[in-house]
């Protein structure tokens, strides 16, 4: 038993953290925030060249073959840097869906492009409000052609390839893959402008089915992605705690650092506790992902629930610790607060994962 990342992966973590600190500065994030670019294309190119996007894609499909733990390490750093790139959409969702549900031919067709960043992937699931449930899927594929409306689709405005959740001719929801060339898209205004979100209107787009796994294959993609999202959320929460900690040490009120007041101390202690619990649950998820463990779904739901709570708490209480300047546009606190909600609502929000967690717990206890 060994419950820590290997030295190689710790080195990857340190390297990626250094790289992102240097290249993914707040100024870069703010270019997307202010609408100057839909995503940090230059940064994306560099990330692709380092093999990060394909970290968990086997080498035979053009990936780096670092395994899932490597991807988890990178996800945490993406969260820490509030990176304005389609990493989650391409790597955790589109590539994973094709890898887990696609045929060998589909893998060969799509994964190399996703891995080297020459194509951006997205995962078109939502059709407006509501969490991921089979009954919410009205998009439909008839005769190999997809019709329906998907929104919001993360990175839908910049993606080349979409994995789409739609119903087949028997009204059973499942996974499909398509090139997005020519699809009508509209960028959406959202809480977190540092990540592209779009509405996609499909009107007879030719698509291929990704396997025949039905809703099970959709849920499998969501479960696996939940662990990677959890790492990204842990990274964001950690960054917030560090920001709050530094500010509390340097800002004085009543002649003393505000971090010497118990109100601030205990707030930060609570952020720390939530973060550590989330981190530990994410670690177990990383192992389950790498080992394809039978309790991966429960591990994923647990990691997701903890991580969403930790990032939400850390991002809002980081603002509170900063006081007045914390809610200005100029200070970076709100970048994390926005990202926290974006990550928390993607692939199902907290109530959805809590309900699923108990479903899985009931199944396990019944076994």
């Amino acid at each position: 038993m060994n419950f820590d990342f290997s030295d190689d992966l710790k080195q990857l973590r340190d390297q990626s953290r250094r790289f992102l600190t240097e290249r993914c500065t707040p100024a870069v994030v703010r270019r997307s925030l202010d609408g100057e670019e839909a995503y940090a294309a230059g940064l994306w190119r560099e990330i692709a060249d380092m093999g990060w996007i394909g970290a968990a894609i086997p080498e035979e499909f053009g990936g780096a073959g670092l395994g899932y733990e490597g991807l988890c390490v990178l996800a945490e750093e993406m969260g820490r840097a509030v990176a304005p790139v389609p990493f989650a959409s391409s790597a955790y969702l589109a590539a994973e869906a094709i890898l887990t549900a696609g045929s060998d031919a589909q893998r060969r067709e799509y994964l190399p492009k996703l891995a080297d960043g020459s194509a951006i992937g997205c995962f078109a699931l939502s059709e407006g409000n509501g969490n991921p449930e089979p009954g919410t899927i009205h998009a439909r594929v008839v005769g190999g052609r997809l019709s329906g409306v998907k929104w919001p689709v993360a990175d839908g405005g910049i993606a080349d390839i979409a994995v789409v959740v739609a119903c087949d001719e028997h009204r059973q929801p499942g996974l499909f893959v398509a090139d997005l060339a020519g699809v009508r898209r509209r960028d959406l205004r959202t809480l977190d402008p540092t990540r592209n979100q779009a509405r996609l209107d499909f009107d007879g787009l030719p698509v291929q089915a990704l396997g025949s796994g039905g809703w099970g294959s959709v849920q499998r993609v969501l479960d696996r992605a939940a662990i990677l999202f959890a790492f990204e959320q842990v990274g964001g929460a950690d960054a917030c705690l560090q920001m709050a900690r530094e500010y509390a040490q340097e800002r004085f009120a009543f002649g003393r650092p505000i971090g010497s007041f118990q109100a601030i101390k205990h707030k930060l202690a609570d952020m720390y506790v939530a973060l550590e619990l989330a981190r530990s649950n994410a670690y177990y998820g990383a192992w389950a992902l790498g080992a394809d463990a039978t309790d991966l779904p429960l591990a994923a739901a647990t990691a997701r629930v903890s991580a969403t709570e930790a990032f939400h708490l850390a991002s809002k209480e980081n603002i509170q610790t900063h006081g007045g300047i914390g809610f200005t546009w100029a200070v970076d606190c709100h970048l994390f607060y926005r990202r926290s909600k974006q990550l928390g609502l993607a692939i199902g929000s907290a109530p959805f994962w809590k309900d699923r967690l108990v479903d899985l717990l009931e199944t396990r206890n019944a076994a």
Partner: protein
């Protein structure tokens, strides 16, 4: 205990209702007014016209002395008016600080001549007032302000910077507290003035908030001259005067901010969980119940305060409870509403967002509610020390000359 109107109250309520019905649009069905962005020139015009109308009808200064156009009415009538007004869309946000904080402070400290000059135009909405207290280095430690004023003949000369001044760019006058002696402990070296916001040397820059709003300003003072006749209270007594202002702040009725519990109820009927309306889900119901109990508790706490006021009692620090409870509730309701929407909750586009995107707007504006006008932490301190009588924290700056108190890097 009686929730029914007395006959006098019933007459007044009918009068208020008639006035409102004749002059304003009912809220029901109207798009909610979110206090998102700054007040623009059009809005100023609307506010001004509405305030004049209210004054004409005698509803502007209900509890104020008759010599200033008030009615000297019981605070209960003010509650009744507010209850009625709450059903209508009325332009707001321009006069609250002036009428709620600045003019009441003037009434305590200004000369009769000054009151004759300033009170009526303020009440009629012809002149706008702002309050210049906070500074970048101060934050929760309000009295640690550094803007200084030095005596020069009959004038004082002000240099420094204020921050978080609502409506500074729209204001004609302001009240300000400044340091006139840095060699004594912080509370003892302050003096209070009112001044003309068009004075030479004042520069105003709006602050861009994370919500996108620009309510607040930074105000820079460079050799701004204020006549000594505009001093309120004695030299060195500025802190005492400020406390008058702040006590009035606590009494000011904050707008109920949307989304309220009923908005969450409505949302929960529309969005679905496992194929059923979310309101059928036990977790959703529990949260609605808890927030409803809190909202009602605050509403009736205010009624208790108004009853006390109408008996001549002075409202105290216990009124800190309102902002403390409301601000976090707003943030929590906003966040939870978005959770119920799922990924769709991210979207703020007008044609797609649920409920006029009010949940999203509140997510971004509520962090400022938990800080501006006294942070959650300061309000809990106030309750603990001033309501419950617990001993004060150990003060590192106690008795130290202001210019010898340690300061940090930020």
């Amino acid at each position: 205990m009686d929730f029914n109107d007395t006959s006098e109250e019933a007459v007044f309520r009918a009068e208020a209702r008639a006035f409102l019905a004749a002059n304003a649009e009912l809220k029901a069905g109207a798009r909610p007014v979110l206090r998102q962005s700054g007040v623009d020139a059009e809005a100023v015009k609307r506010c001004r016209a509405w305030q004049a109308k209210k004054d004409d009808a005698g509803f502007a200064g209900l509890t104020w002395p008759k010599r200033f156009g008030g009615r000297e009415a019981s605070p209960i009538l003010q509650v009744i008016y507010n209850q009625e007004e709450d059903d209508f869309v009325v332009p707001r946000g321009l006069y609250e600080i002036g009428l709620g904080m600045c003019i009441p402070t003037m009434m305590t400290y200004a000369t009769p001549e000054q009151l004759d000059r300033y009170v009526r135009p303020a009440l009629r909405g012809e002149e706008v007032w702002c309050q210049l207290f906070s500074e970048p280095a101060g934050g929760s430690d309000l009295a640690a302000l550094r803007t200084r004023a030095e005596r020069d003949g009959d004038d004082w000369v002000i240099n420094g910077q204020k921050i978080w001044t609502s409506g500074a760019h729209l204001s004609d006058f302001g009240i300000i507290v400044v340091r006139t002696d840095p060699n004594v402990p912080k509370h003892e070296g302050l003096t209070f003035f009112f001044l003309d916001m068009k004075s030479p040397g004042i520069e105003i820059r709006p602050i861009h908030q994370m919500s996108g709003a620009r309510h607040f300003n930074e105000v820079f003072f460079t050799d701004v001259r204020v006549p000594d006749s505009q001093r309120l209270g004695a030299v060195g007594q500025g802190w005492k005067v400020s406390l008058t202002t702040l006590m009035n702040e606590r009494l000011a009725v904050g707008d109920v901010q949307r989304p309220e519990v009923d908005d969450l109820v409505e949302l929960s009927r529309k969005v679905r969980i496992n194929g059923k309306p979310a309101i059928r889900n036990g977790a959703v119901r529990e949260k609605i119940a808890e927030w409803h109990a809190r909202s009602q508790g605050l509403k009736f706490t205010r009624f208790r305060t108004m009853t006390a006021l109408s008996k001549g009692e002075t409202p105290g620090p216990e009124n800190s409870i309102h902002k403390l409870v409301n601000a976090s509730k707003l943030q929590d309701i906003a966040s939870y509403g978005l959770d119920l929407m799922g990924a769709g909750g991210l979207v703020v586009d007008d044609d797609l967002a649920e409920a006029y995107a009010m949940f999203q707007a509140a997510l971004l504006s509520s962090p400022s509610s938990r800080i501006a006008g006294g942070s959650d932490e300061i309000l809990r301190n106030i309750i603990a020390e001033r309501v419950l009588g617990l001993p004060s924290d150990i003060r590192a700056d106690k008795g130290k000359p202001f210019n010898q108190v340690p300061t940090g890097r930020r």
